[in-house]
Assembly symmetry: C2
Homo-oligomer: 206 residues x 2
DNA sequence: GCCGCCATTGTGGATTTCCACAGCCCCTTT
DNA sequence: AAAGGGGCTGTGGAAATCCACAATGGCGGC
């Protein structure tokens, strides 16, 4: 099981070193990169933790790197460090989902608190993602007919009504219904309804 | 039925007039205040629409007014106008829920687009709030026993299991169950499960 | 005392859900 | 050809849900 890390990207070596030292003193694992390009080349979706990005860097900026990572499906919470007052950029980046903005020079405790919060959020999100994946895997096992019957079940329809609508025997509805419960690993229509409600509530993820 | 309005608060008369004119030319109703204090004195929860606040004003600032309004339970989307680059304040206010930050001088079309989006969001939120209120009213009609039985239903338990746990007859469970469905205005356990799932998913609102 | 609300329970019967056992047909893969 | 998957169906019977009709008892308010 991989450990969470804090990924630091800043072209200022002093900042990188200071941050790495700070995090080590708090027992937090970290790795540093001096350019956005080098981090991007190393990035892979197995990375787990949070990002600390300097918003302005030589070459690709932190904001541009963030856009690239979003496009790659990276969901790690991202904290931006900024030394300039650029409100539109801060607003835009926050609205795109950045976790936080912290101005240099920063307060050590404040930054570590935000980092811990970001790590916690990432952990929570990973759990949610795992659940979603599991539900999706179960859904993928359903035949077309089973999906149709499931939709009717979730619409609260009686088996005989489903049978009428799909023009099949009630016995067949029962068979498909039993398969749906089995494949979705639920024991009742209530449980199925709750599972699918939770799944759909967490769906907006694009 | 009250109409939605845009509420303008800015100590700069030229801005207020220009905004009012702009909105009128787009067929959007608005009202203006020159100080945060005067708006706060007039505020009431029946106001519907969105807010445009200048972030810095003589006396109470836009940010301070926003905090006050939040404390009063105001849910109108709030767009801040700012002429200075104060990133921490922008970040803090956005994280508190502000709808957007726009720097002066602003682009007319951009601002109107954001206002229309804010009005739409407020409309959607009103609809959600109305639904929540309705559900809460129905929940309030349930007796303690009915609430207990409902919890068991939502846990997917059979009537006979509920009867065992609550140490009552199955017939009594059926009576309470029927009352729960009637009062919650649902026709099945599935429908009840979905109603409560949606309600609980939208609960974090404090 | 009367009334309304709440909780509880029983009887009898209808409807719905669930499923073991059994079977048929079509299509695809080995 | 045989096996597996999917869809479909029937029989018989048990379990679960639903409810009209009926009733009792406790509590609080008028």
């Amino acid at each position: 099981m991989k450990t969470r890390q804090v990924y630091l990207v800043d072209d200022d070596a002093a900042i990188r070193d200071a941050l790495a030292w700070l995090l080590r003193s708090r027992g937090i694992d970290s790795r540093a990169w001096s350019t956005a390009e080098s981090f991007l080349a190393d990035y892979n979706s197995a990375m787990s933790g949070c990002l600390i990005l300097d918003i302005r860097m030589v070459g690709m900026t932190g904001a541009e790197l963030y856009d690239q990572l979003l496009a790659l499906g990276c969901a790690m919470p991202t904290i931006f460090l900024t030394g300039h007052g650029d409100v539109p950029l801060a607003v835009k980046t926050l609205k795109r989902g950045a976790f936080d903005f912290i101005e240099k020079p920063f307060n050590d405790n404040e930054l570590v608190d935000r980092i811990l919060a970001a790590l916690q959020q990432e952990e929570n999100q990973r759990g949610l993602d795992a659940s979603r994946t599991q539900i999706e895997e179960r859904l993928a096992t359903l035949t077309e007919r089973e999906q149709e019957v499931m939709a009717c079940i979730l619409a609260g329809k009686l088996n005989k009504v489903i049978a009428d609508e799909l023009q099949i025997a009630m016995r067949t509805v029962e068979v498909h219904r039993a398969h749906v419960f089995e494949k979705m690993k639920v024991r009742s229509a209530v449980e199925l309804a709750q599972l699918m409600s939770a799944y759909r509530a967490g769906k907006p993820r694009q």
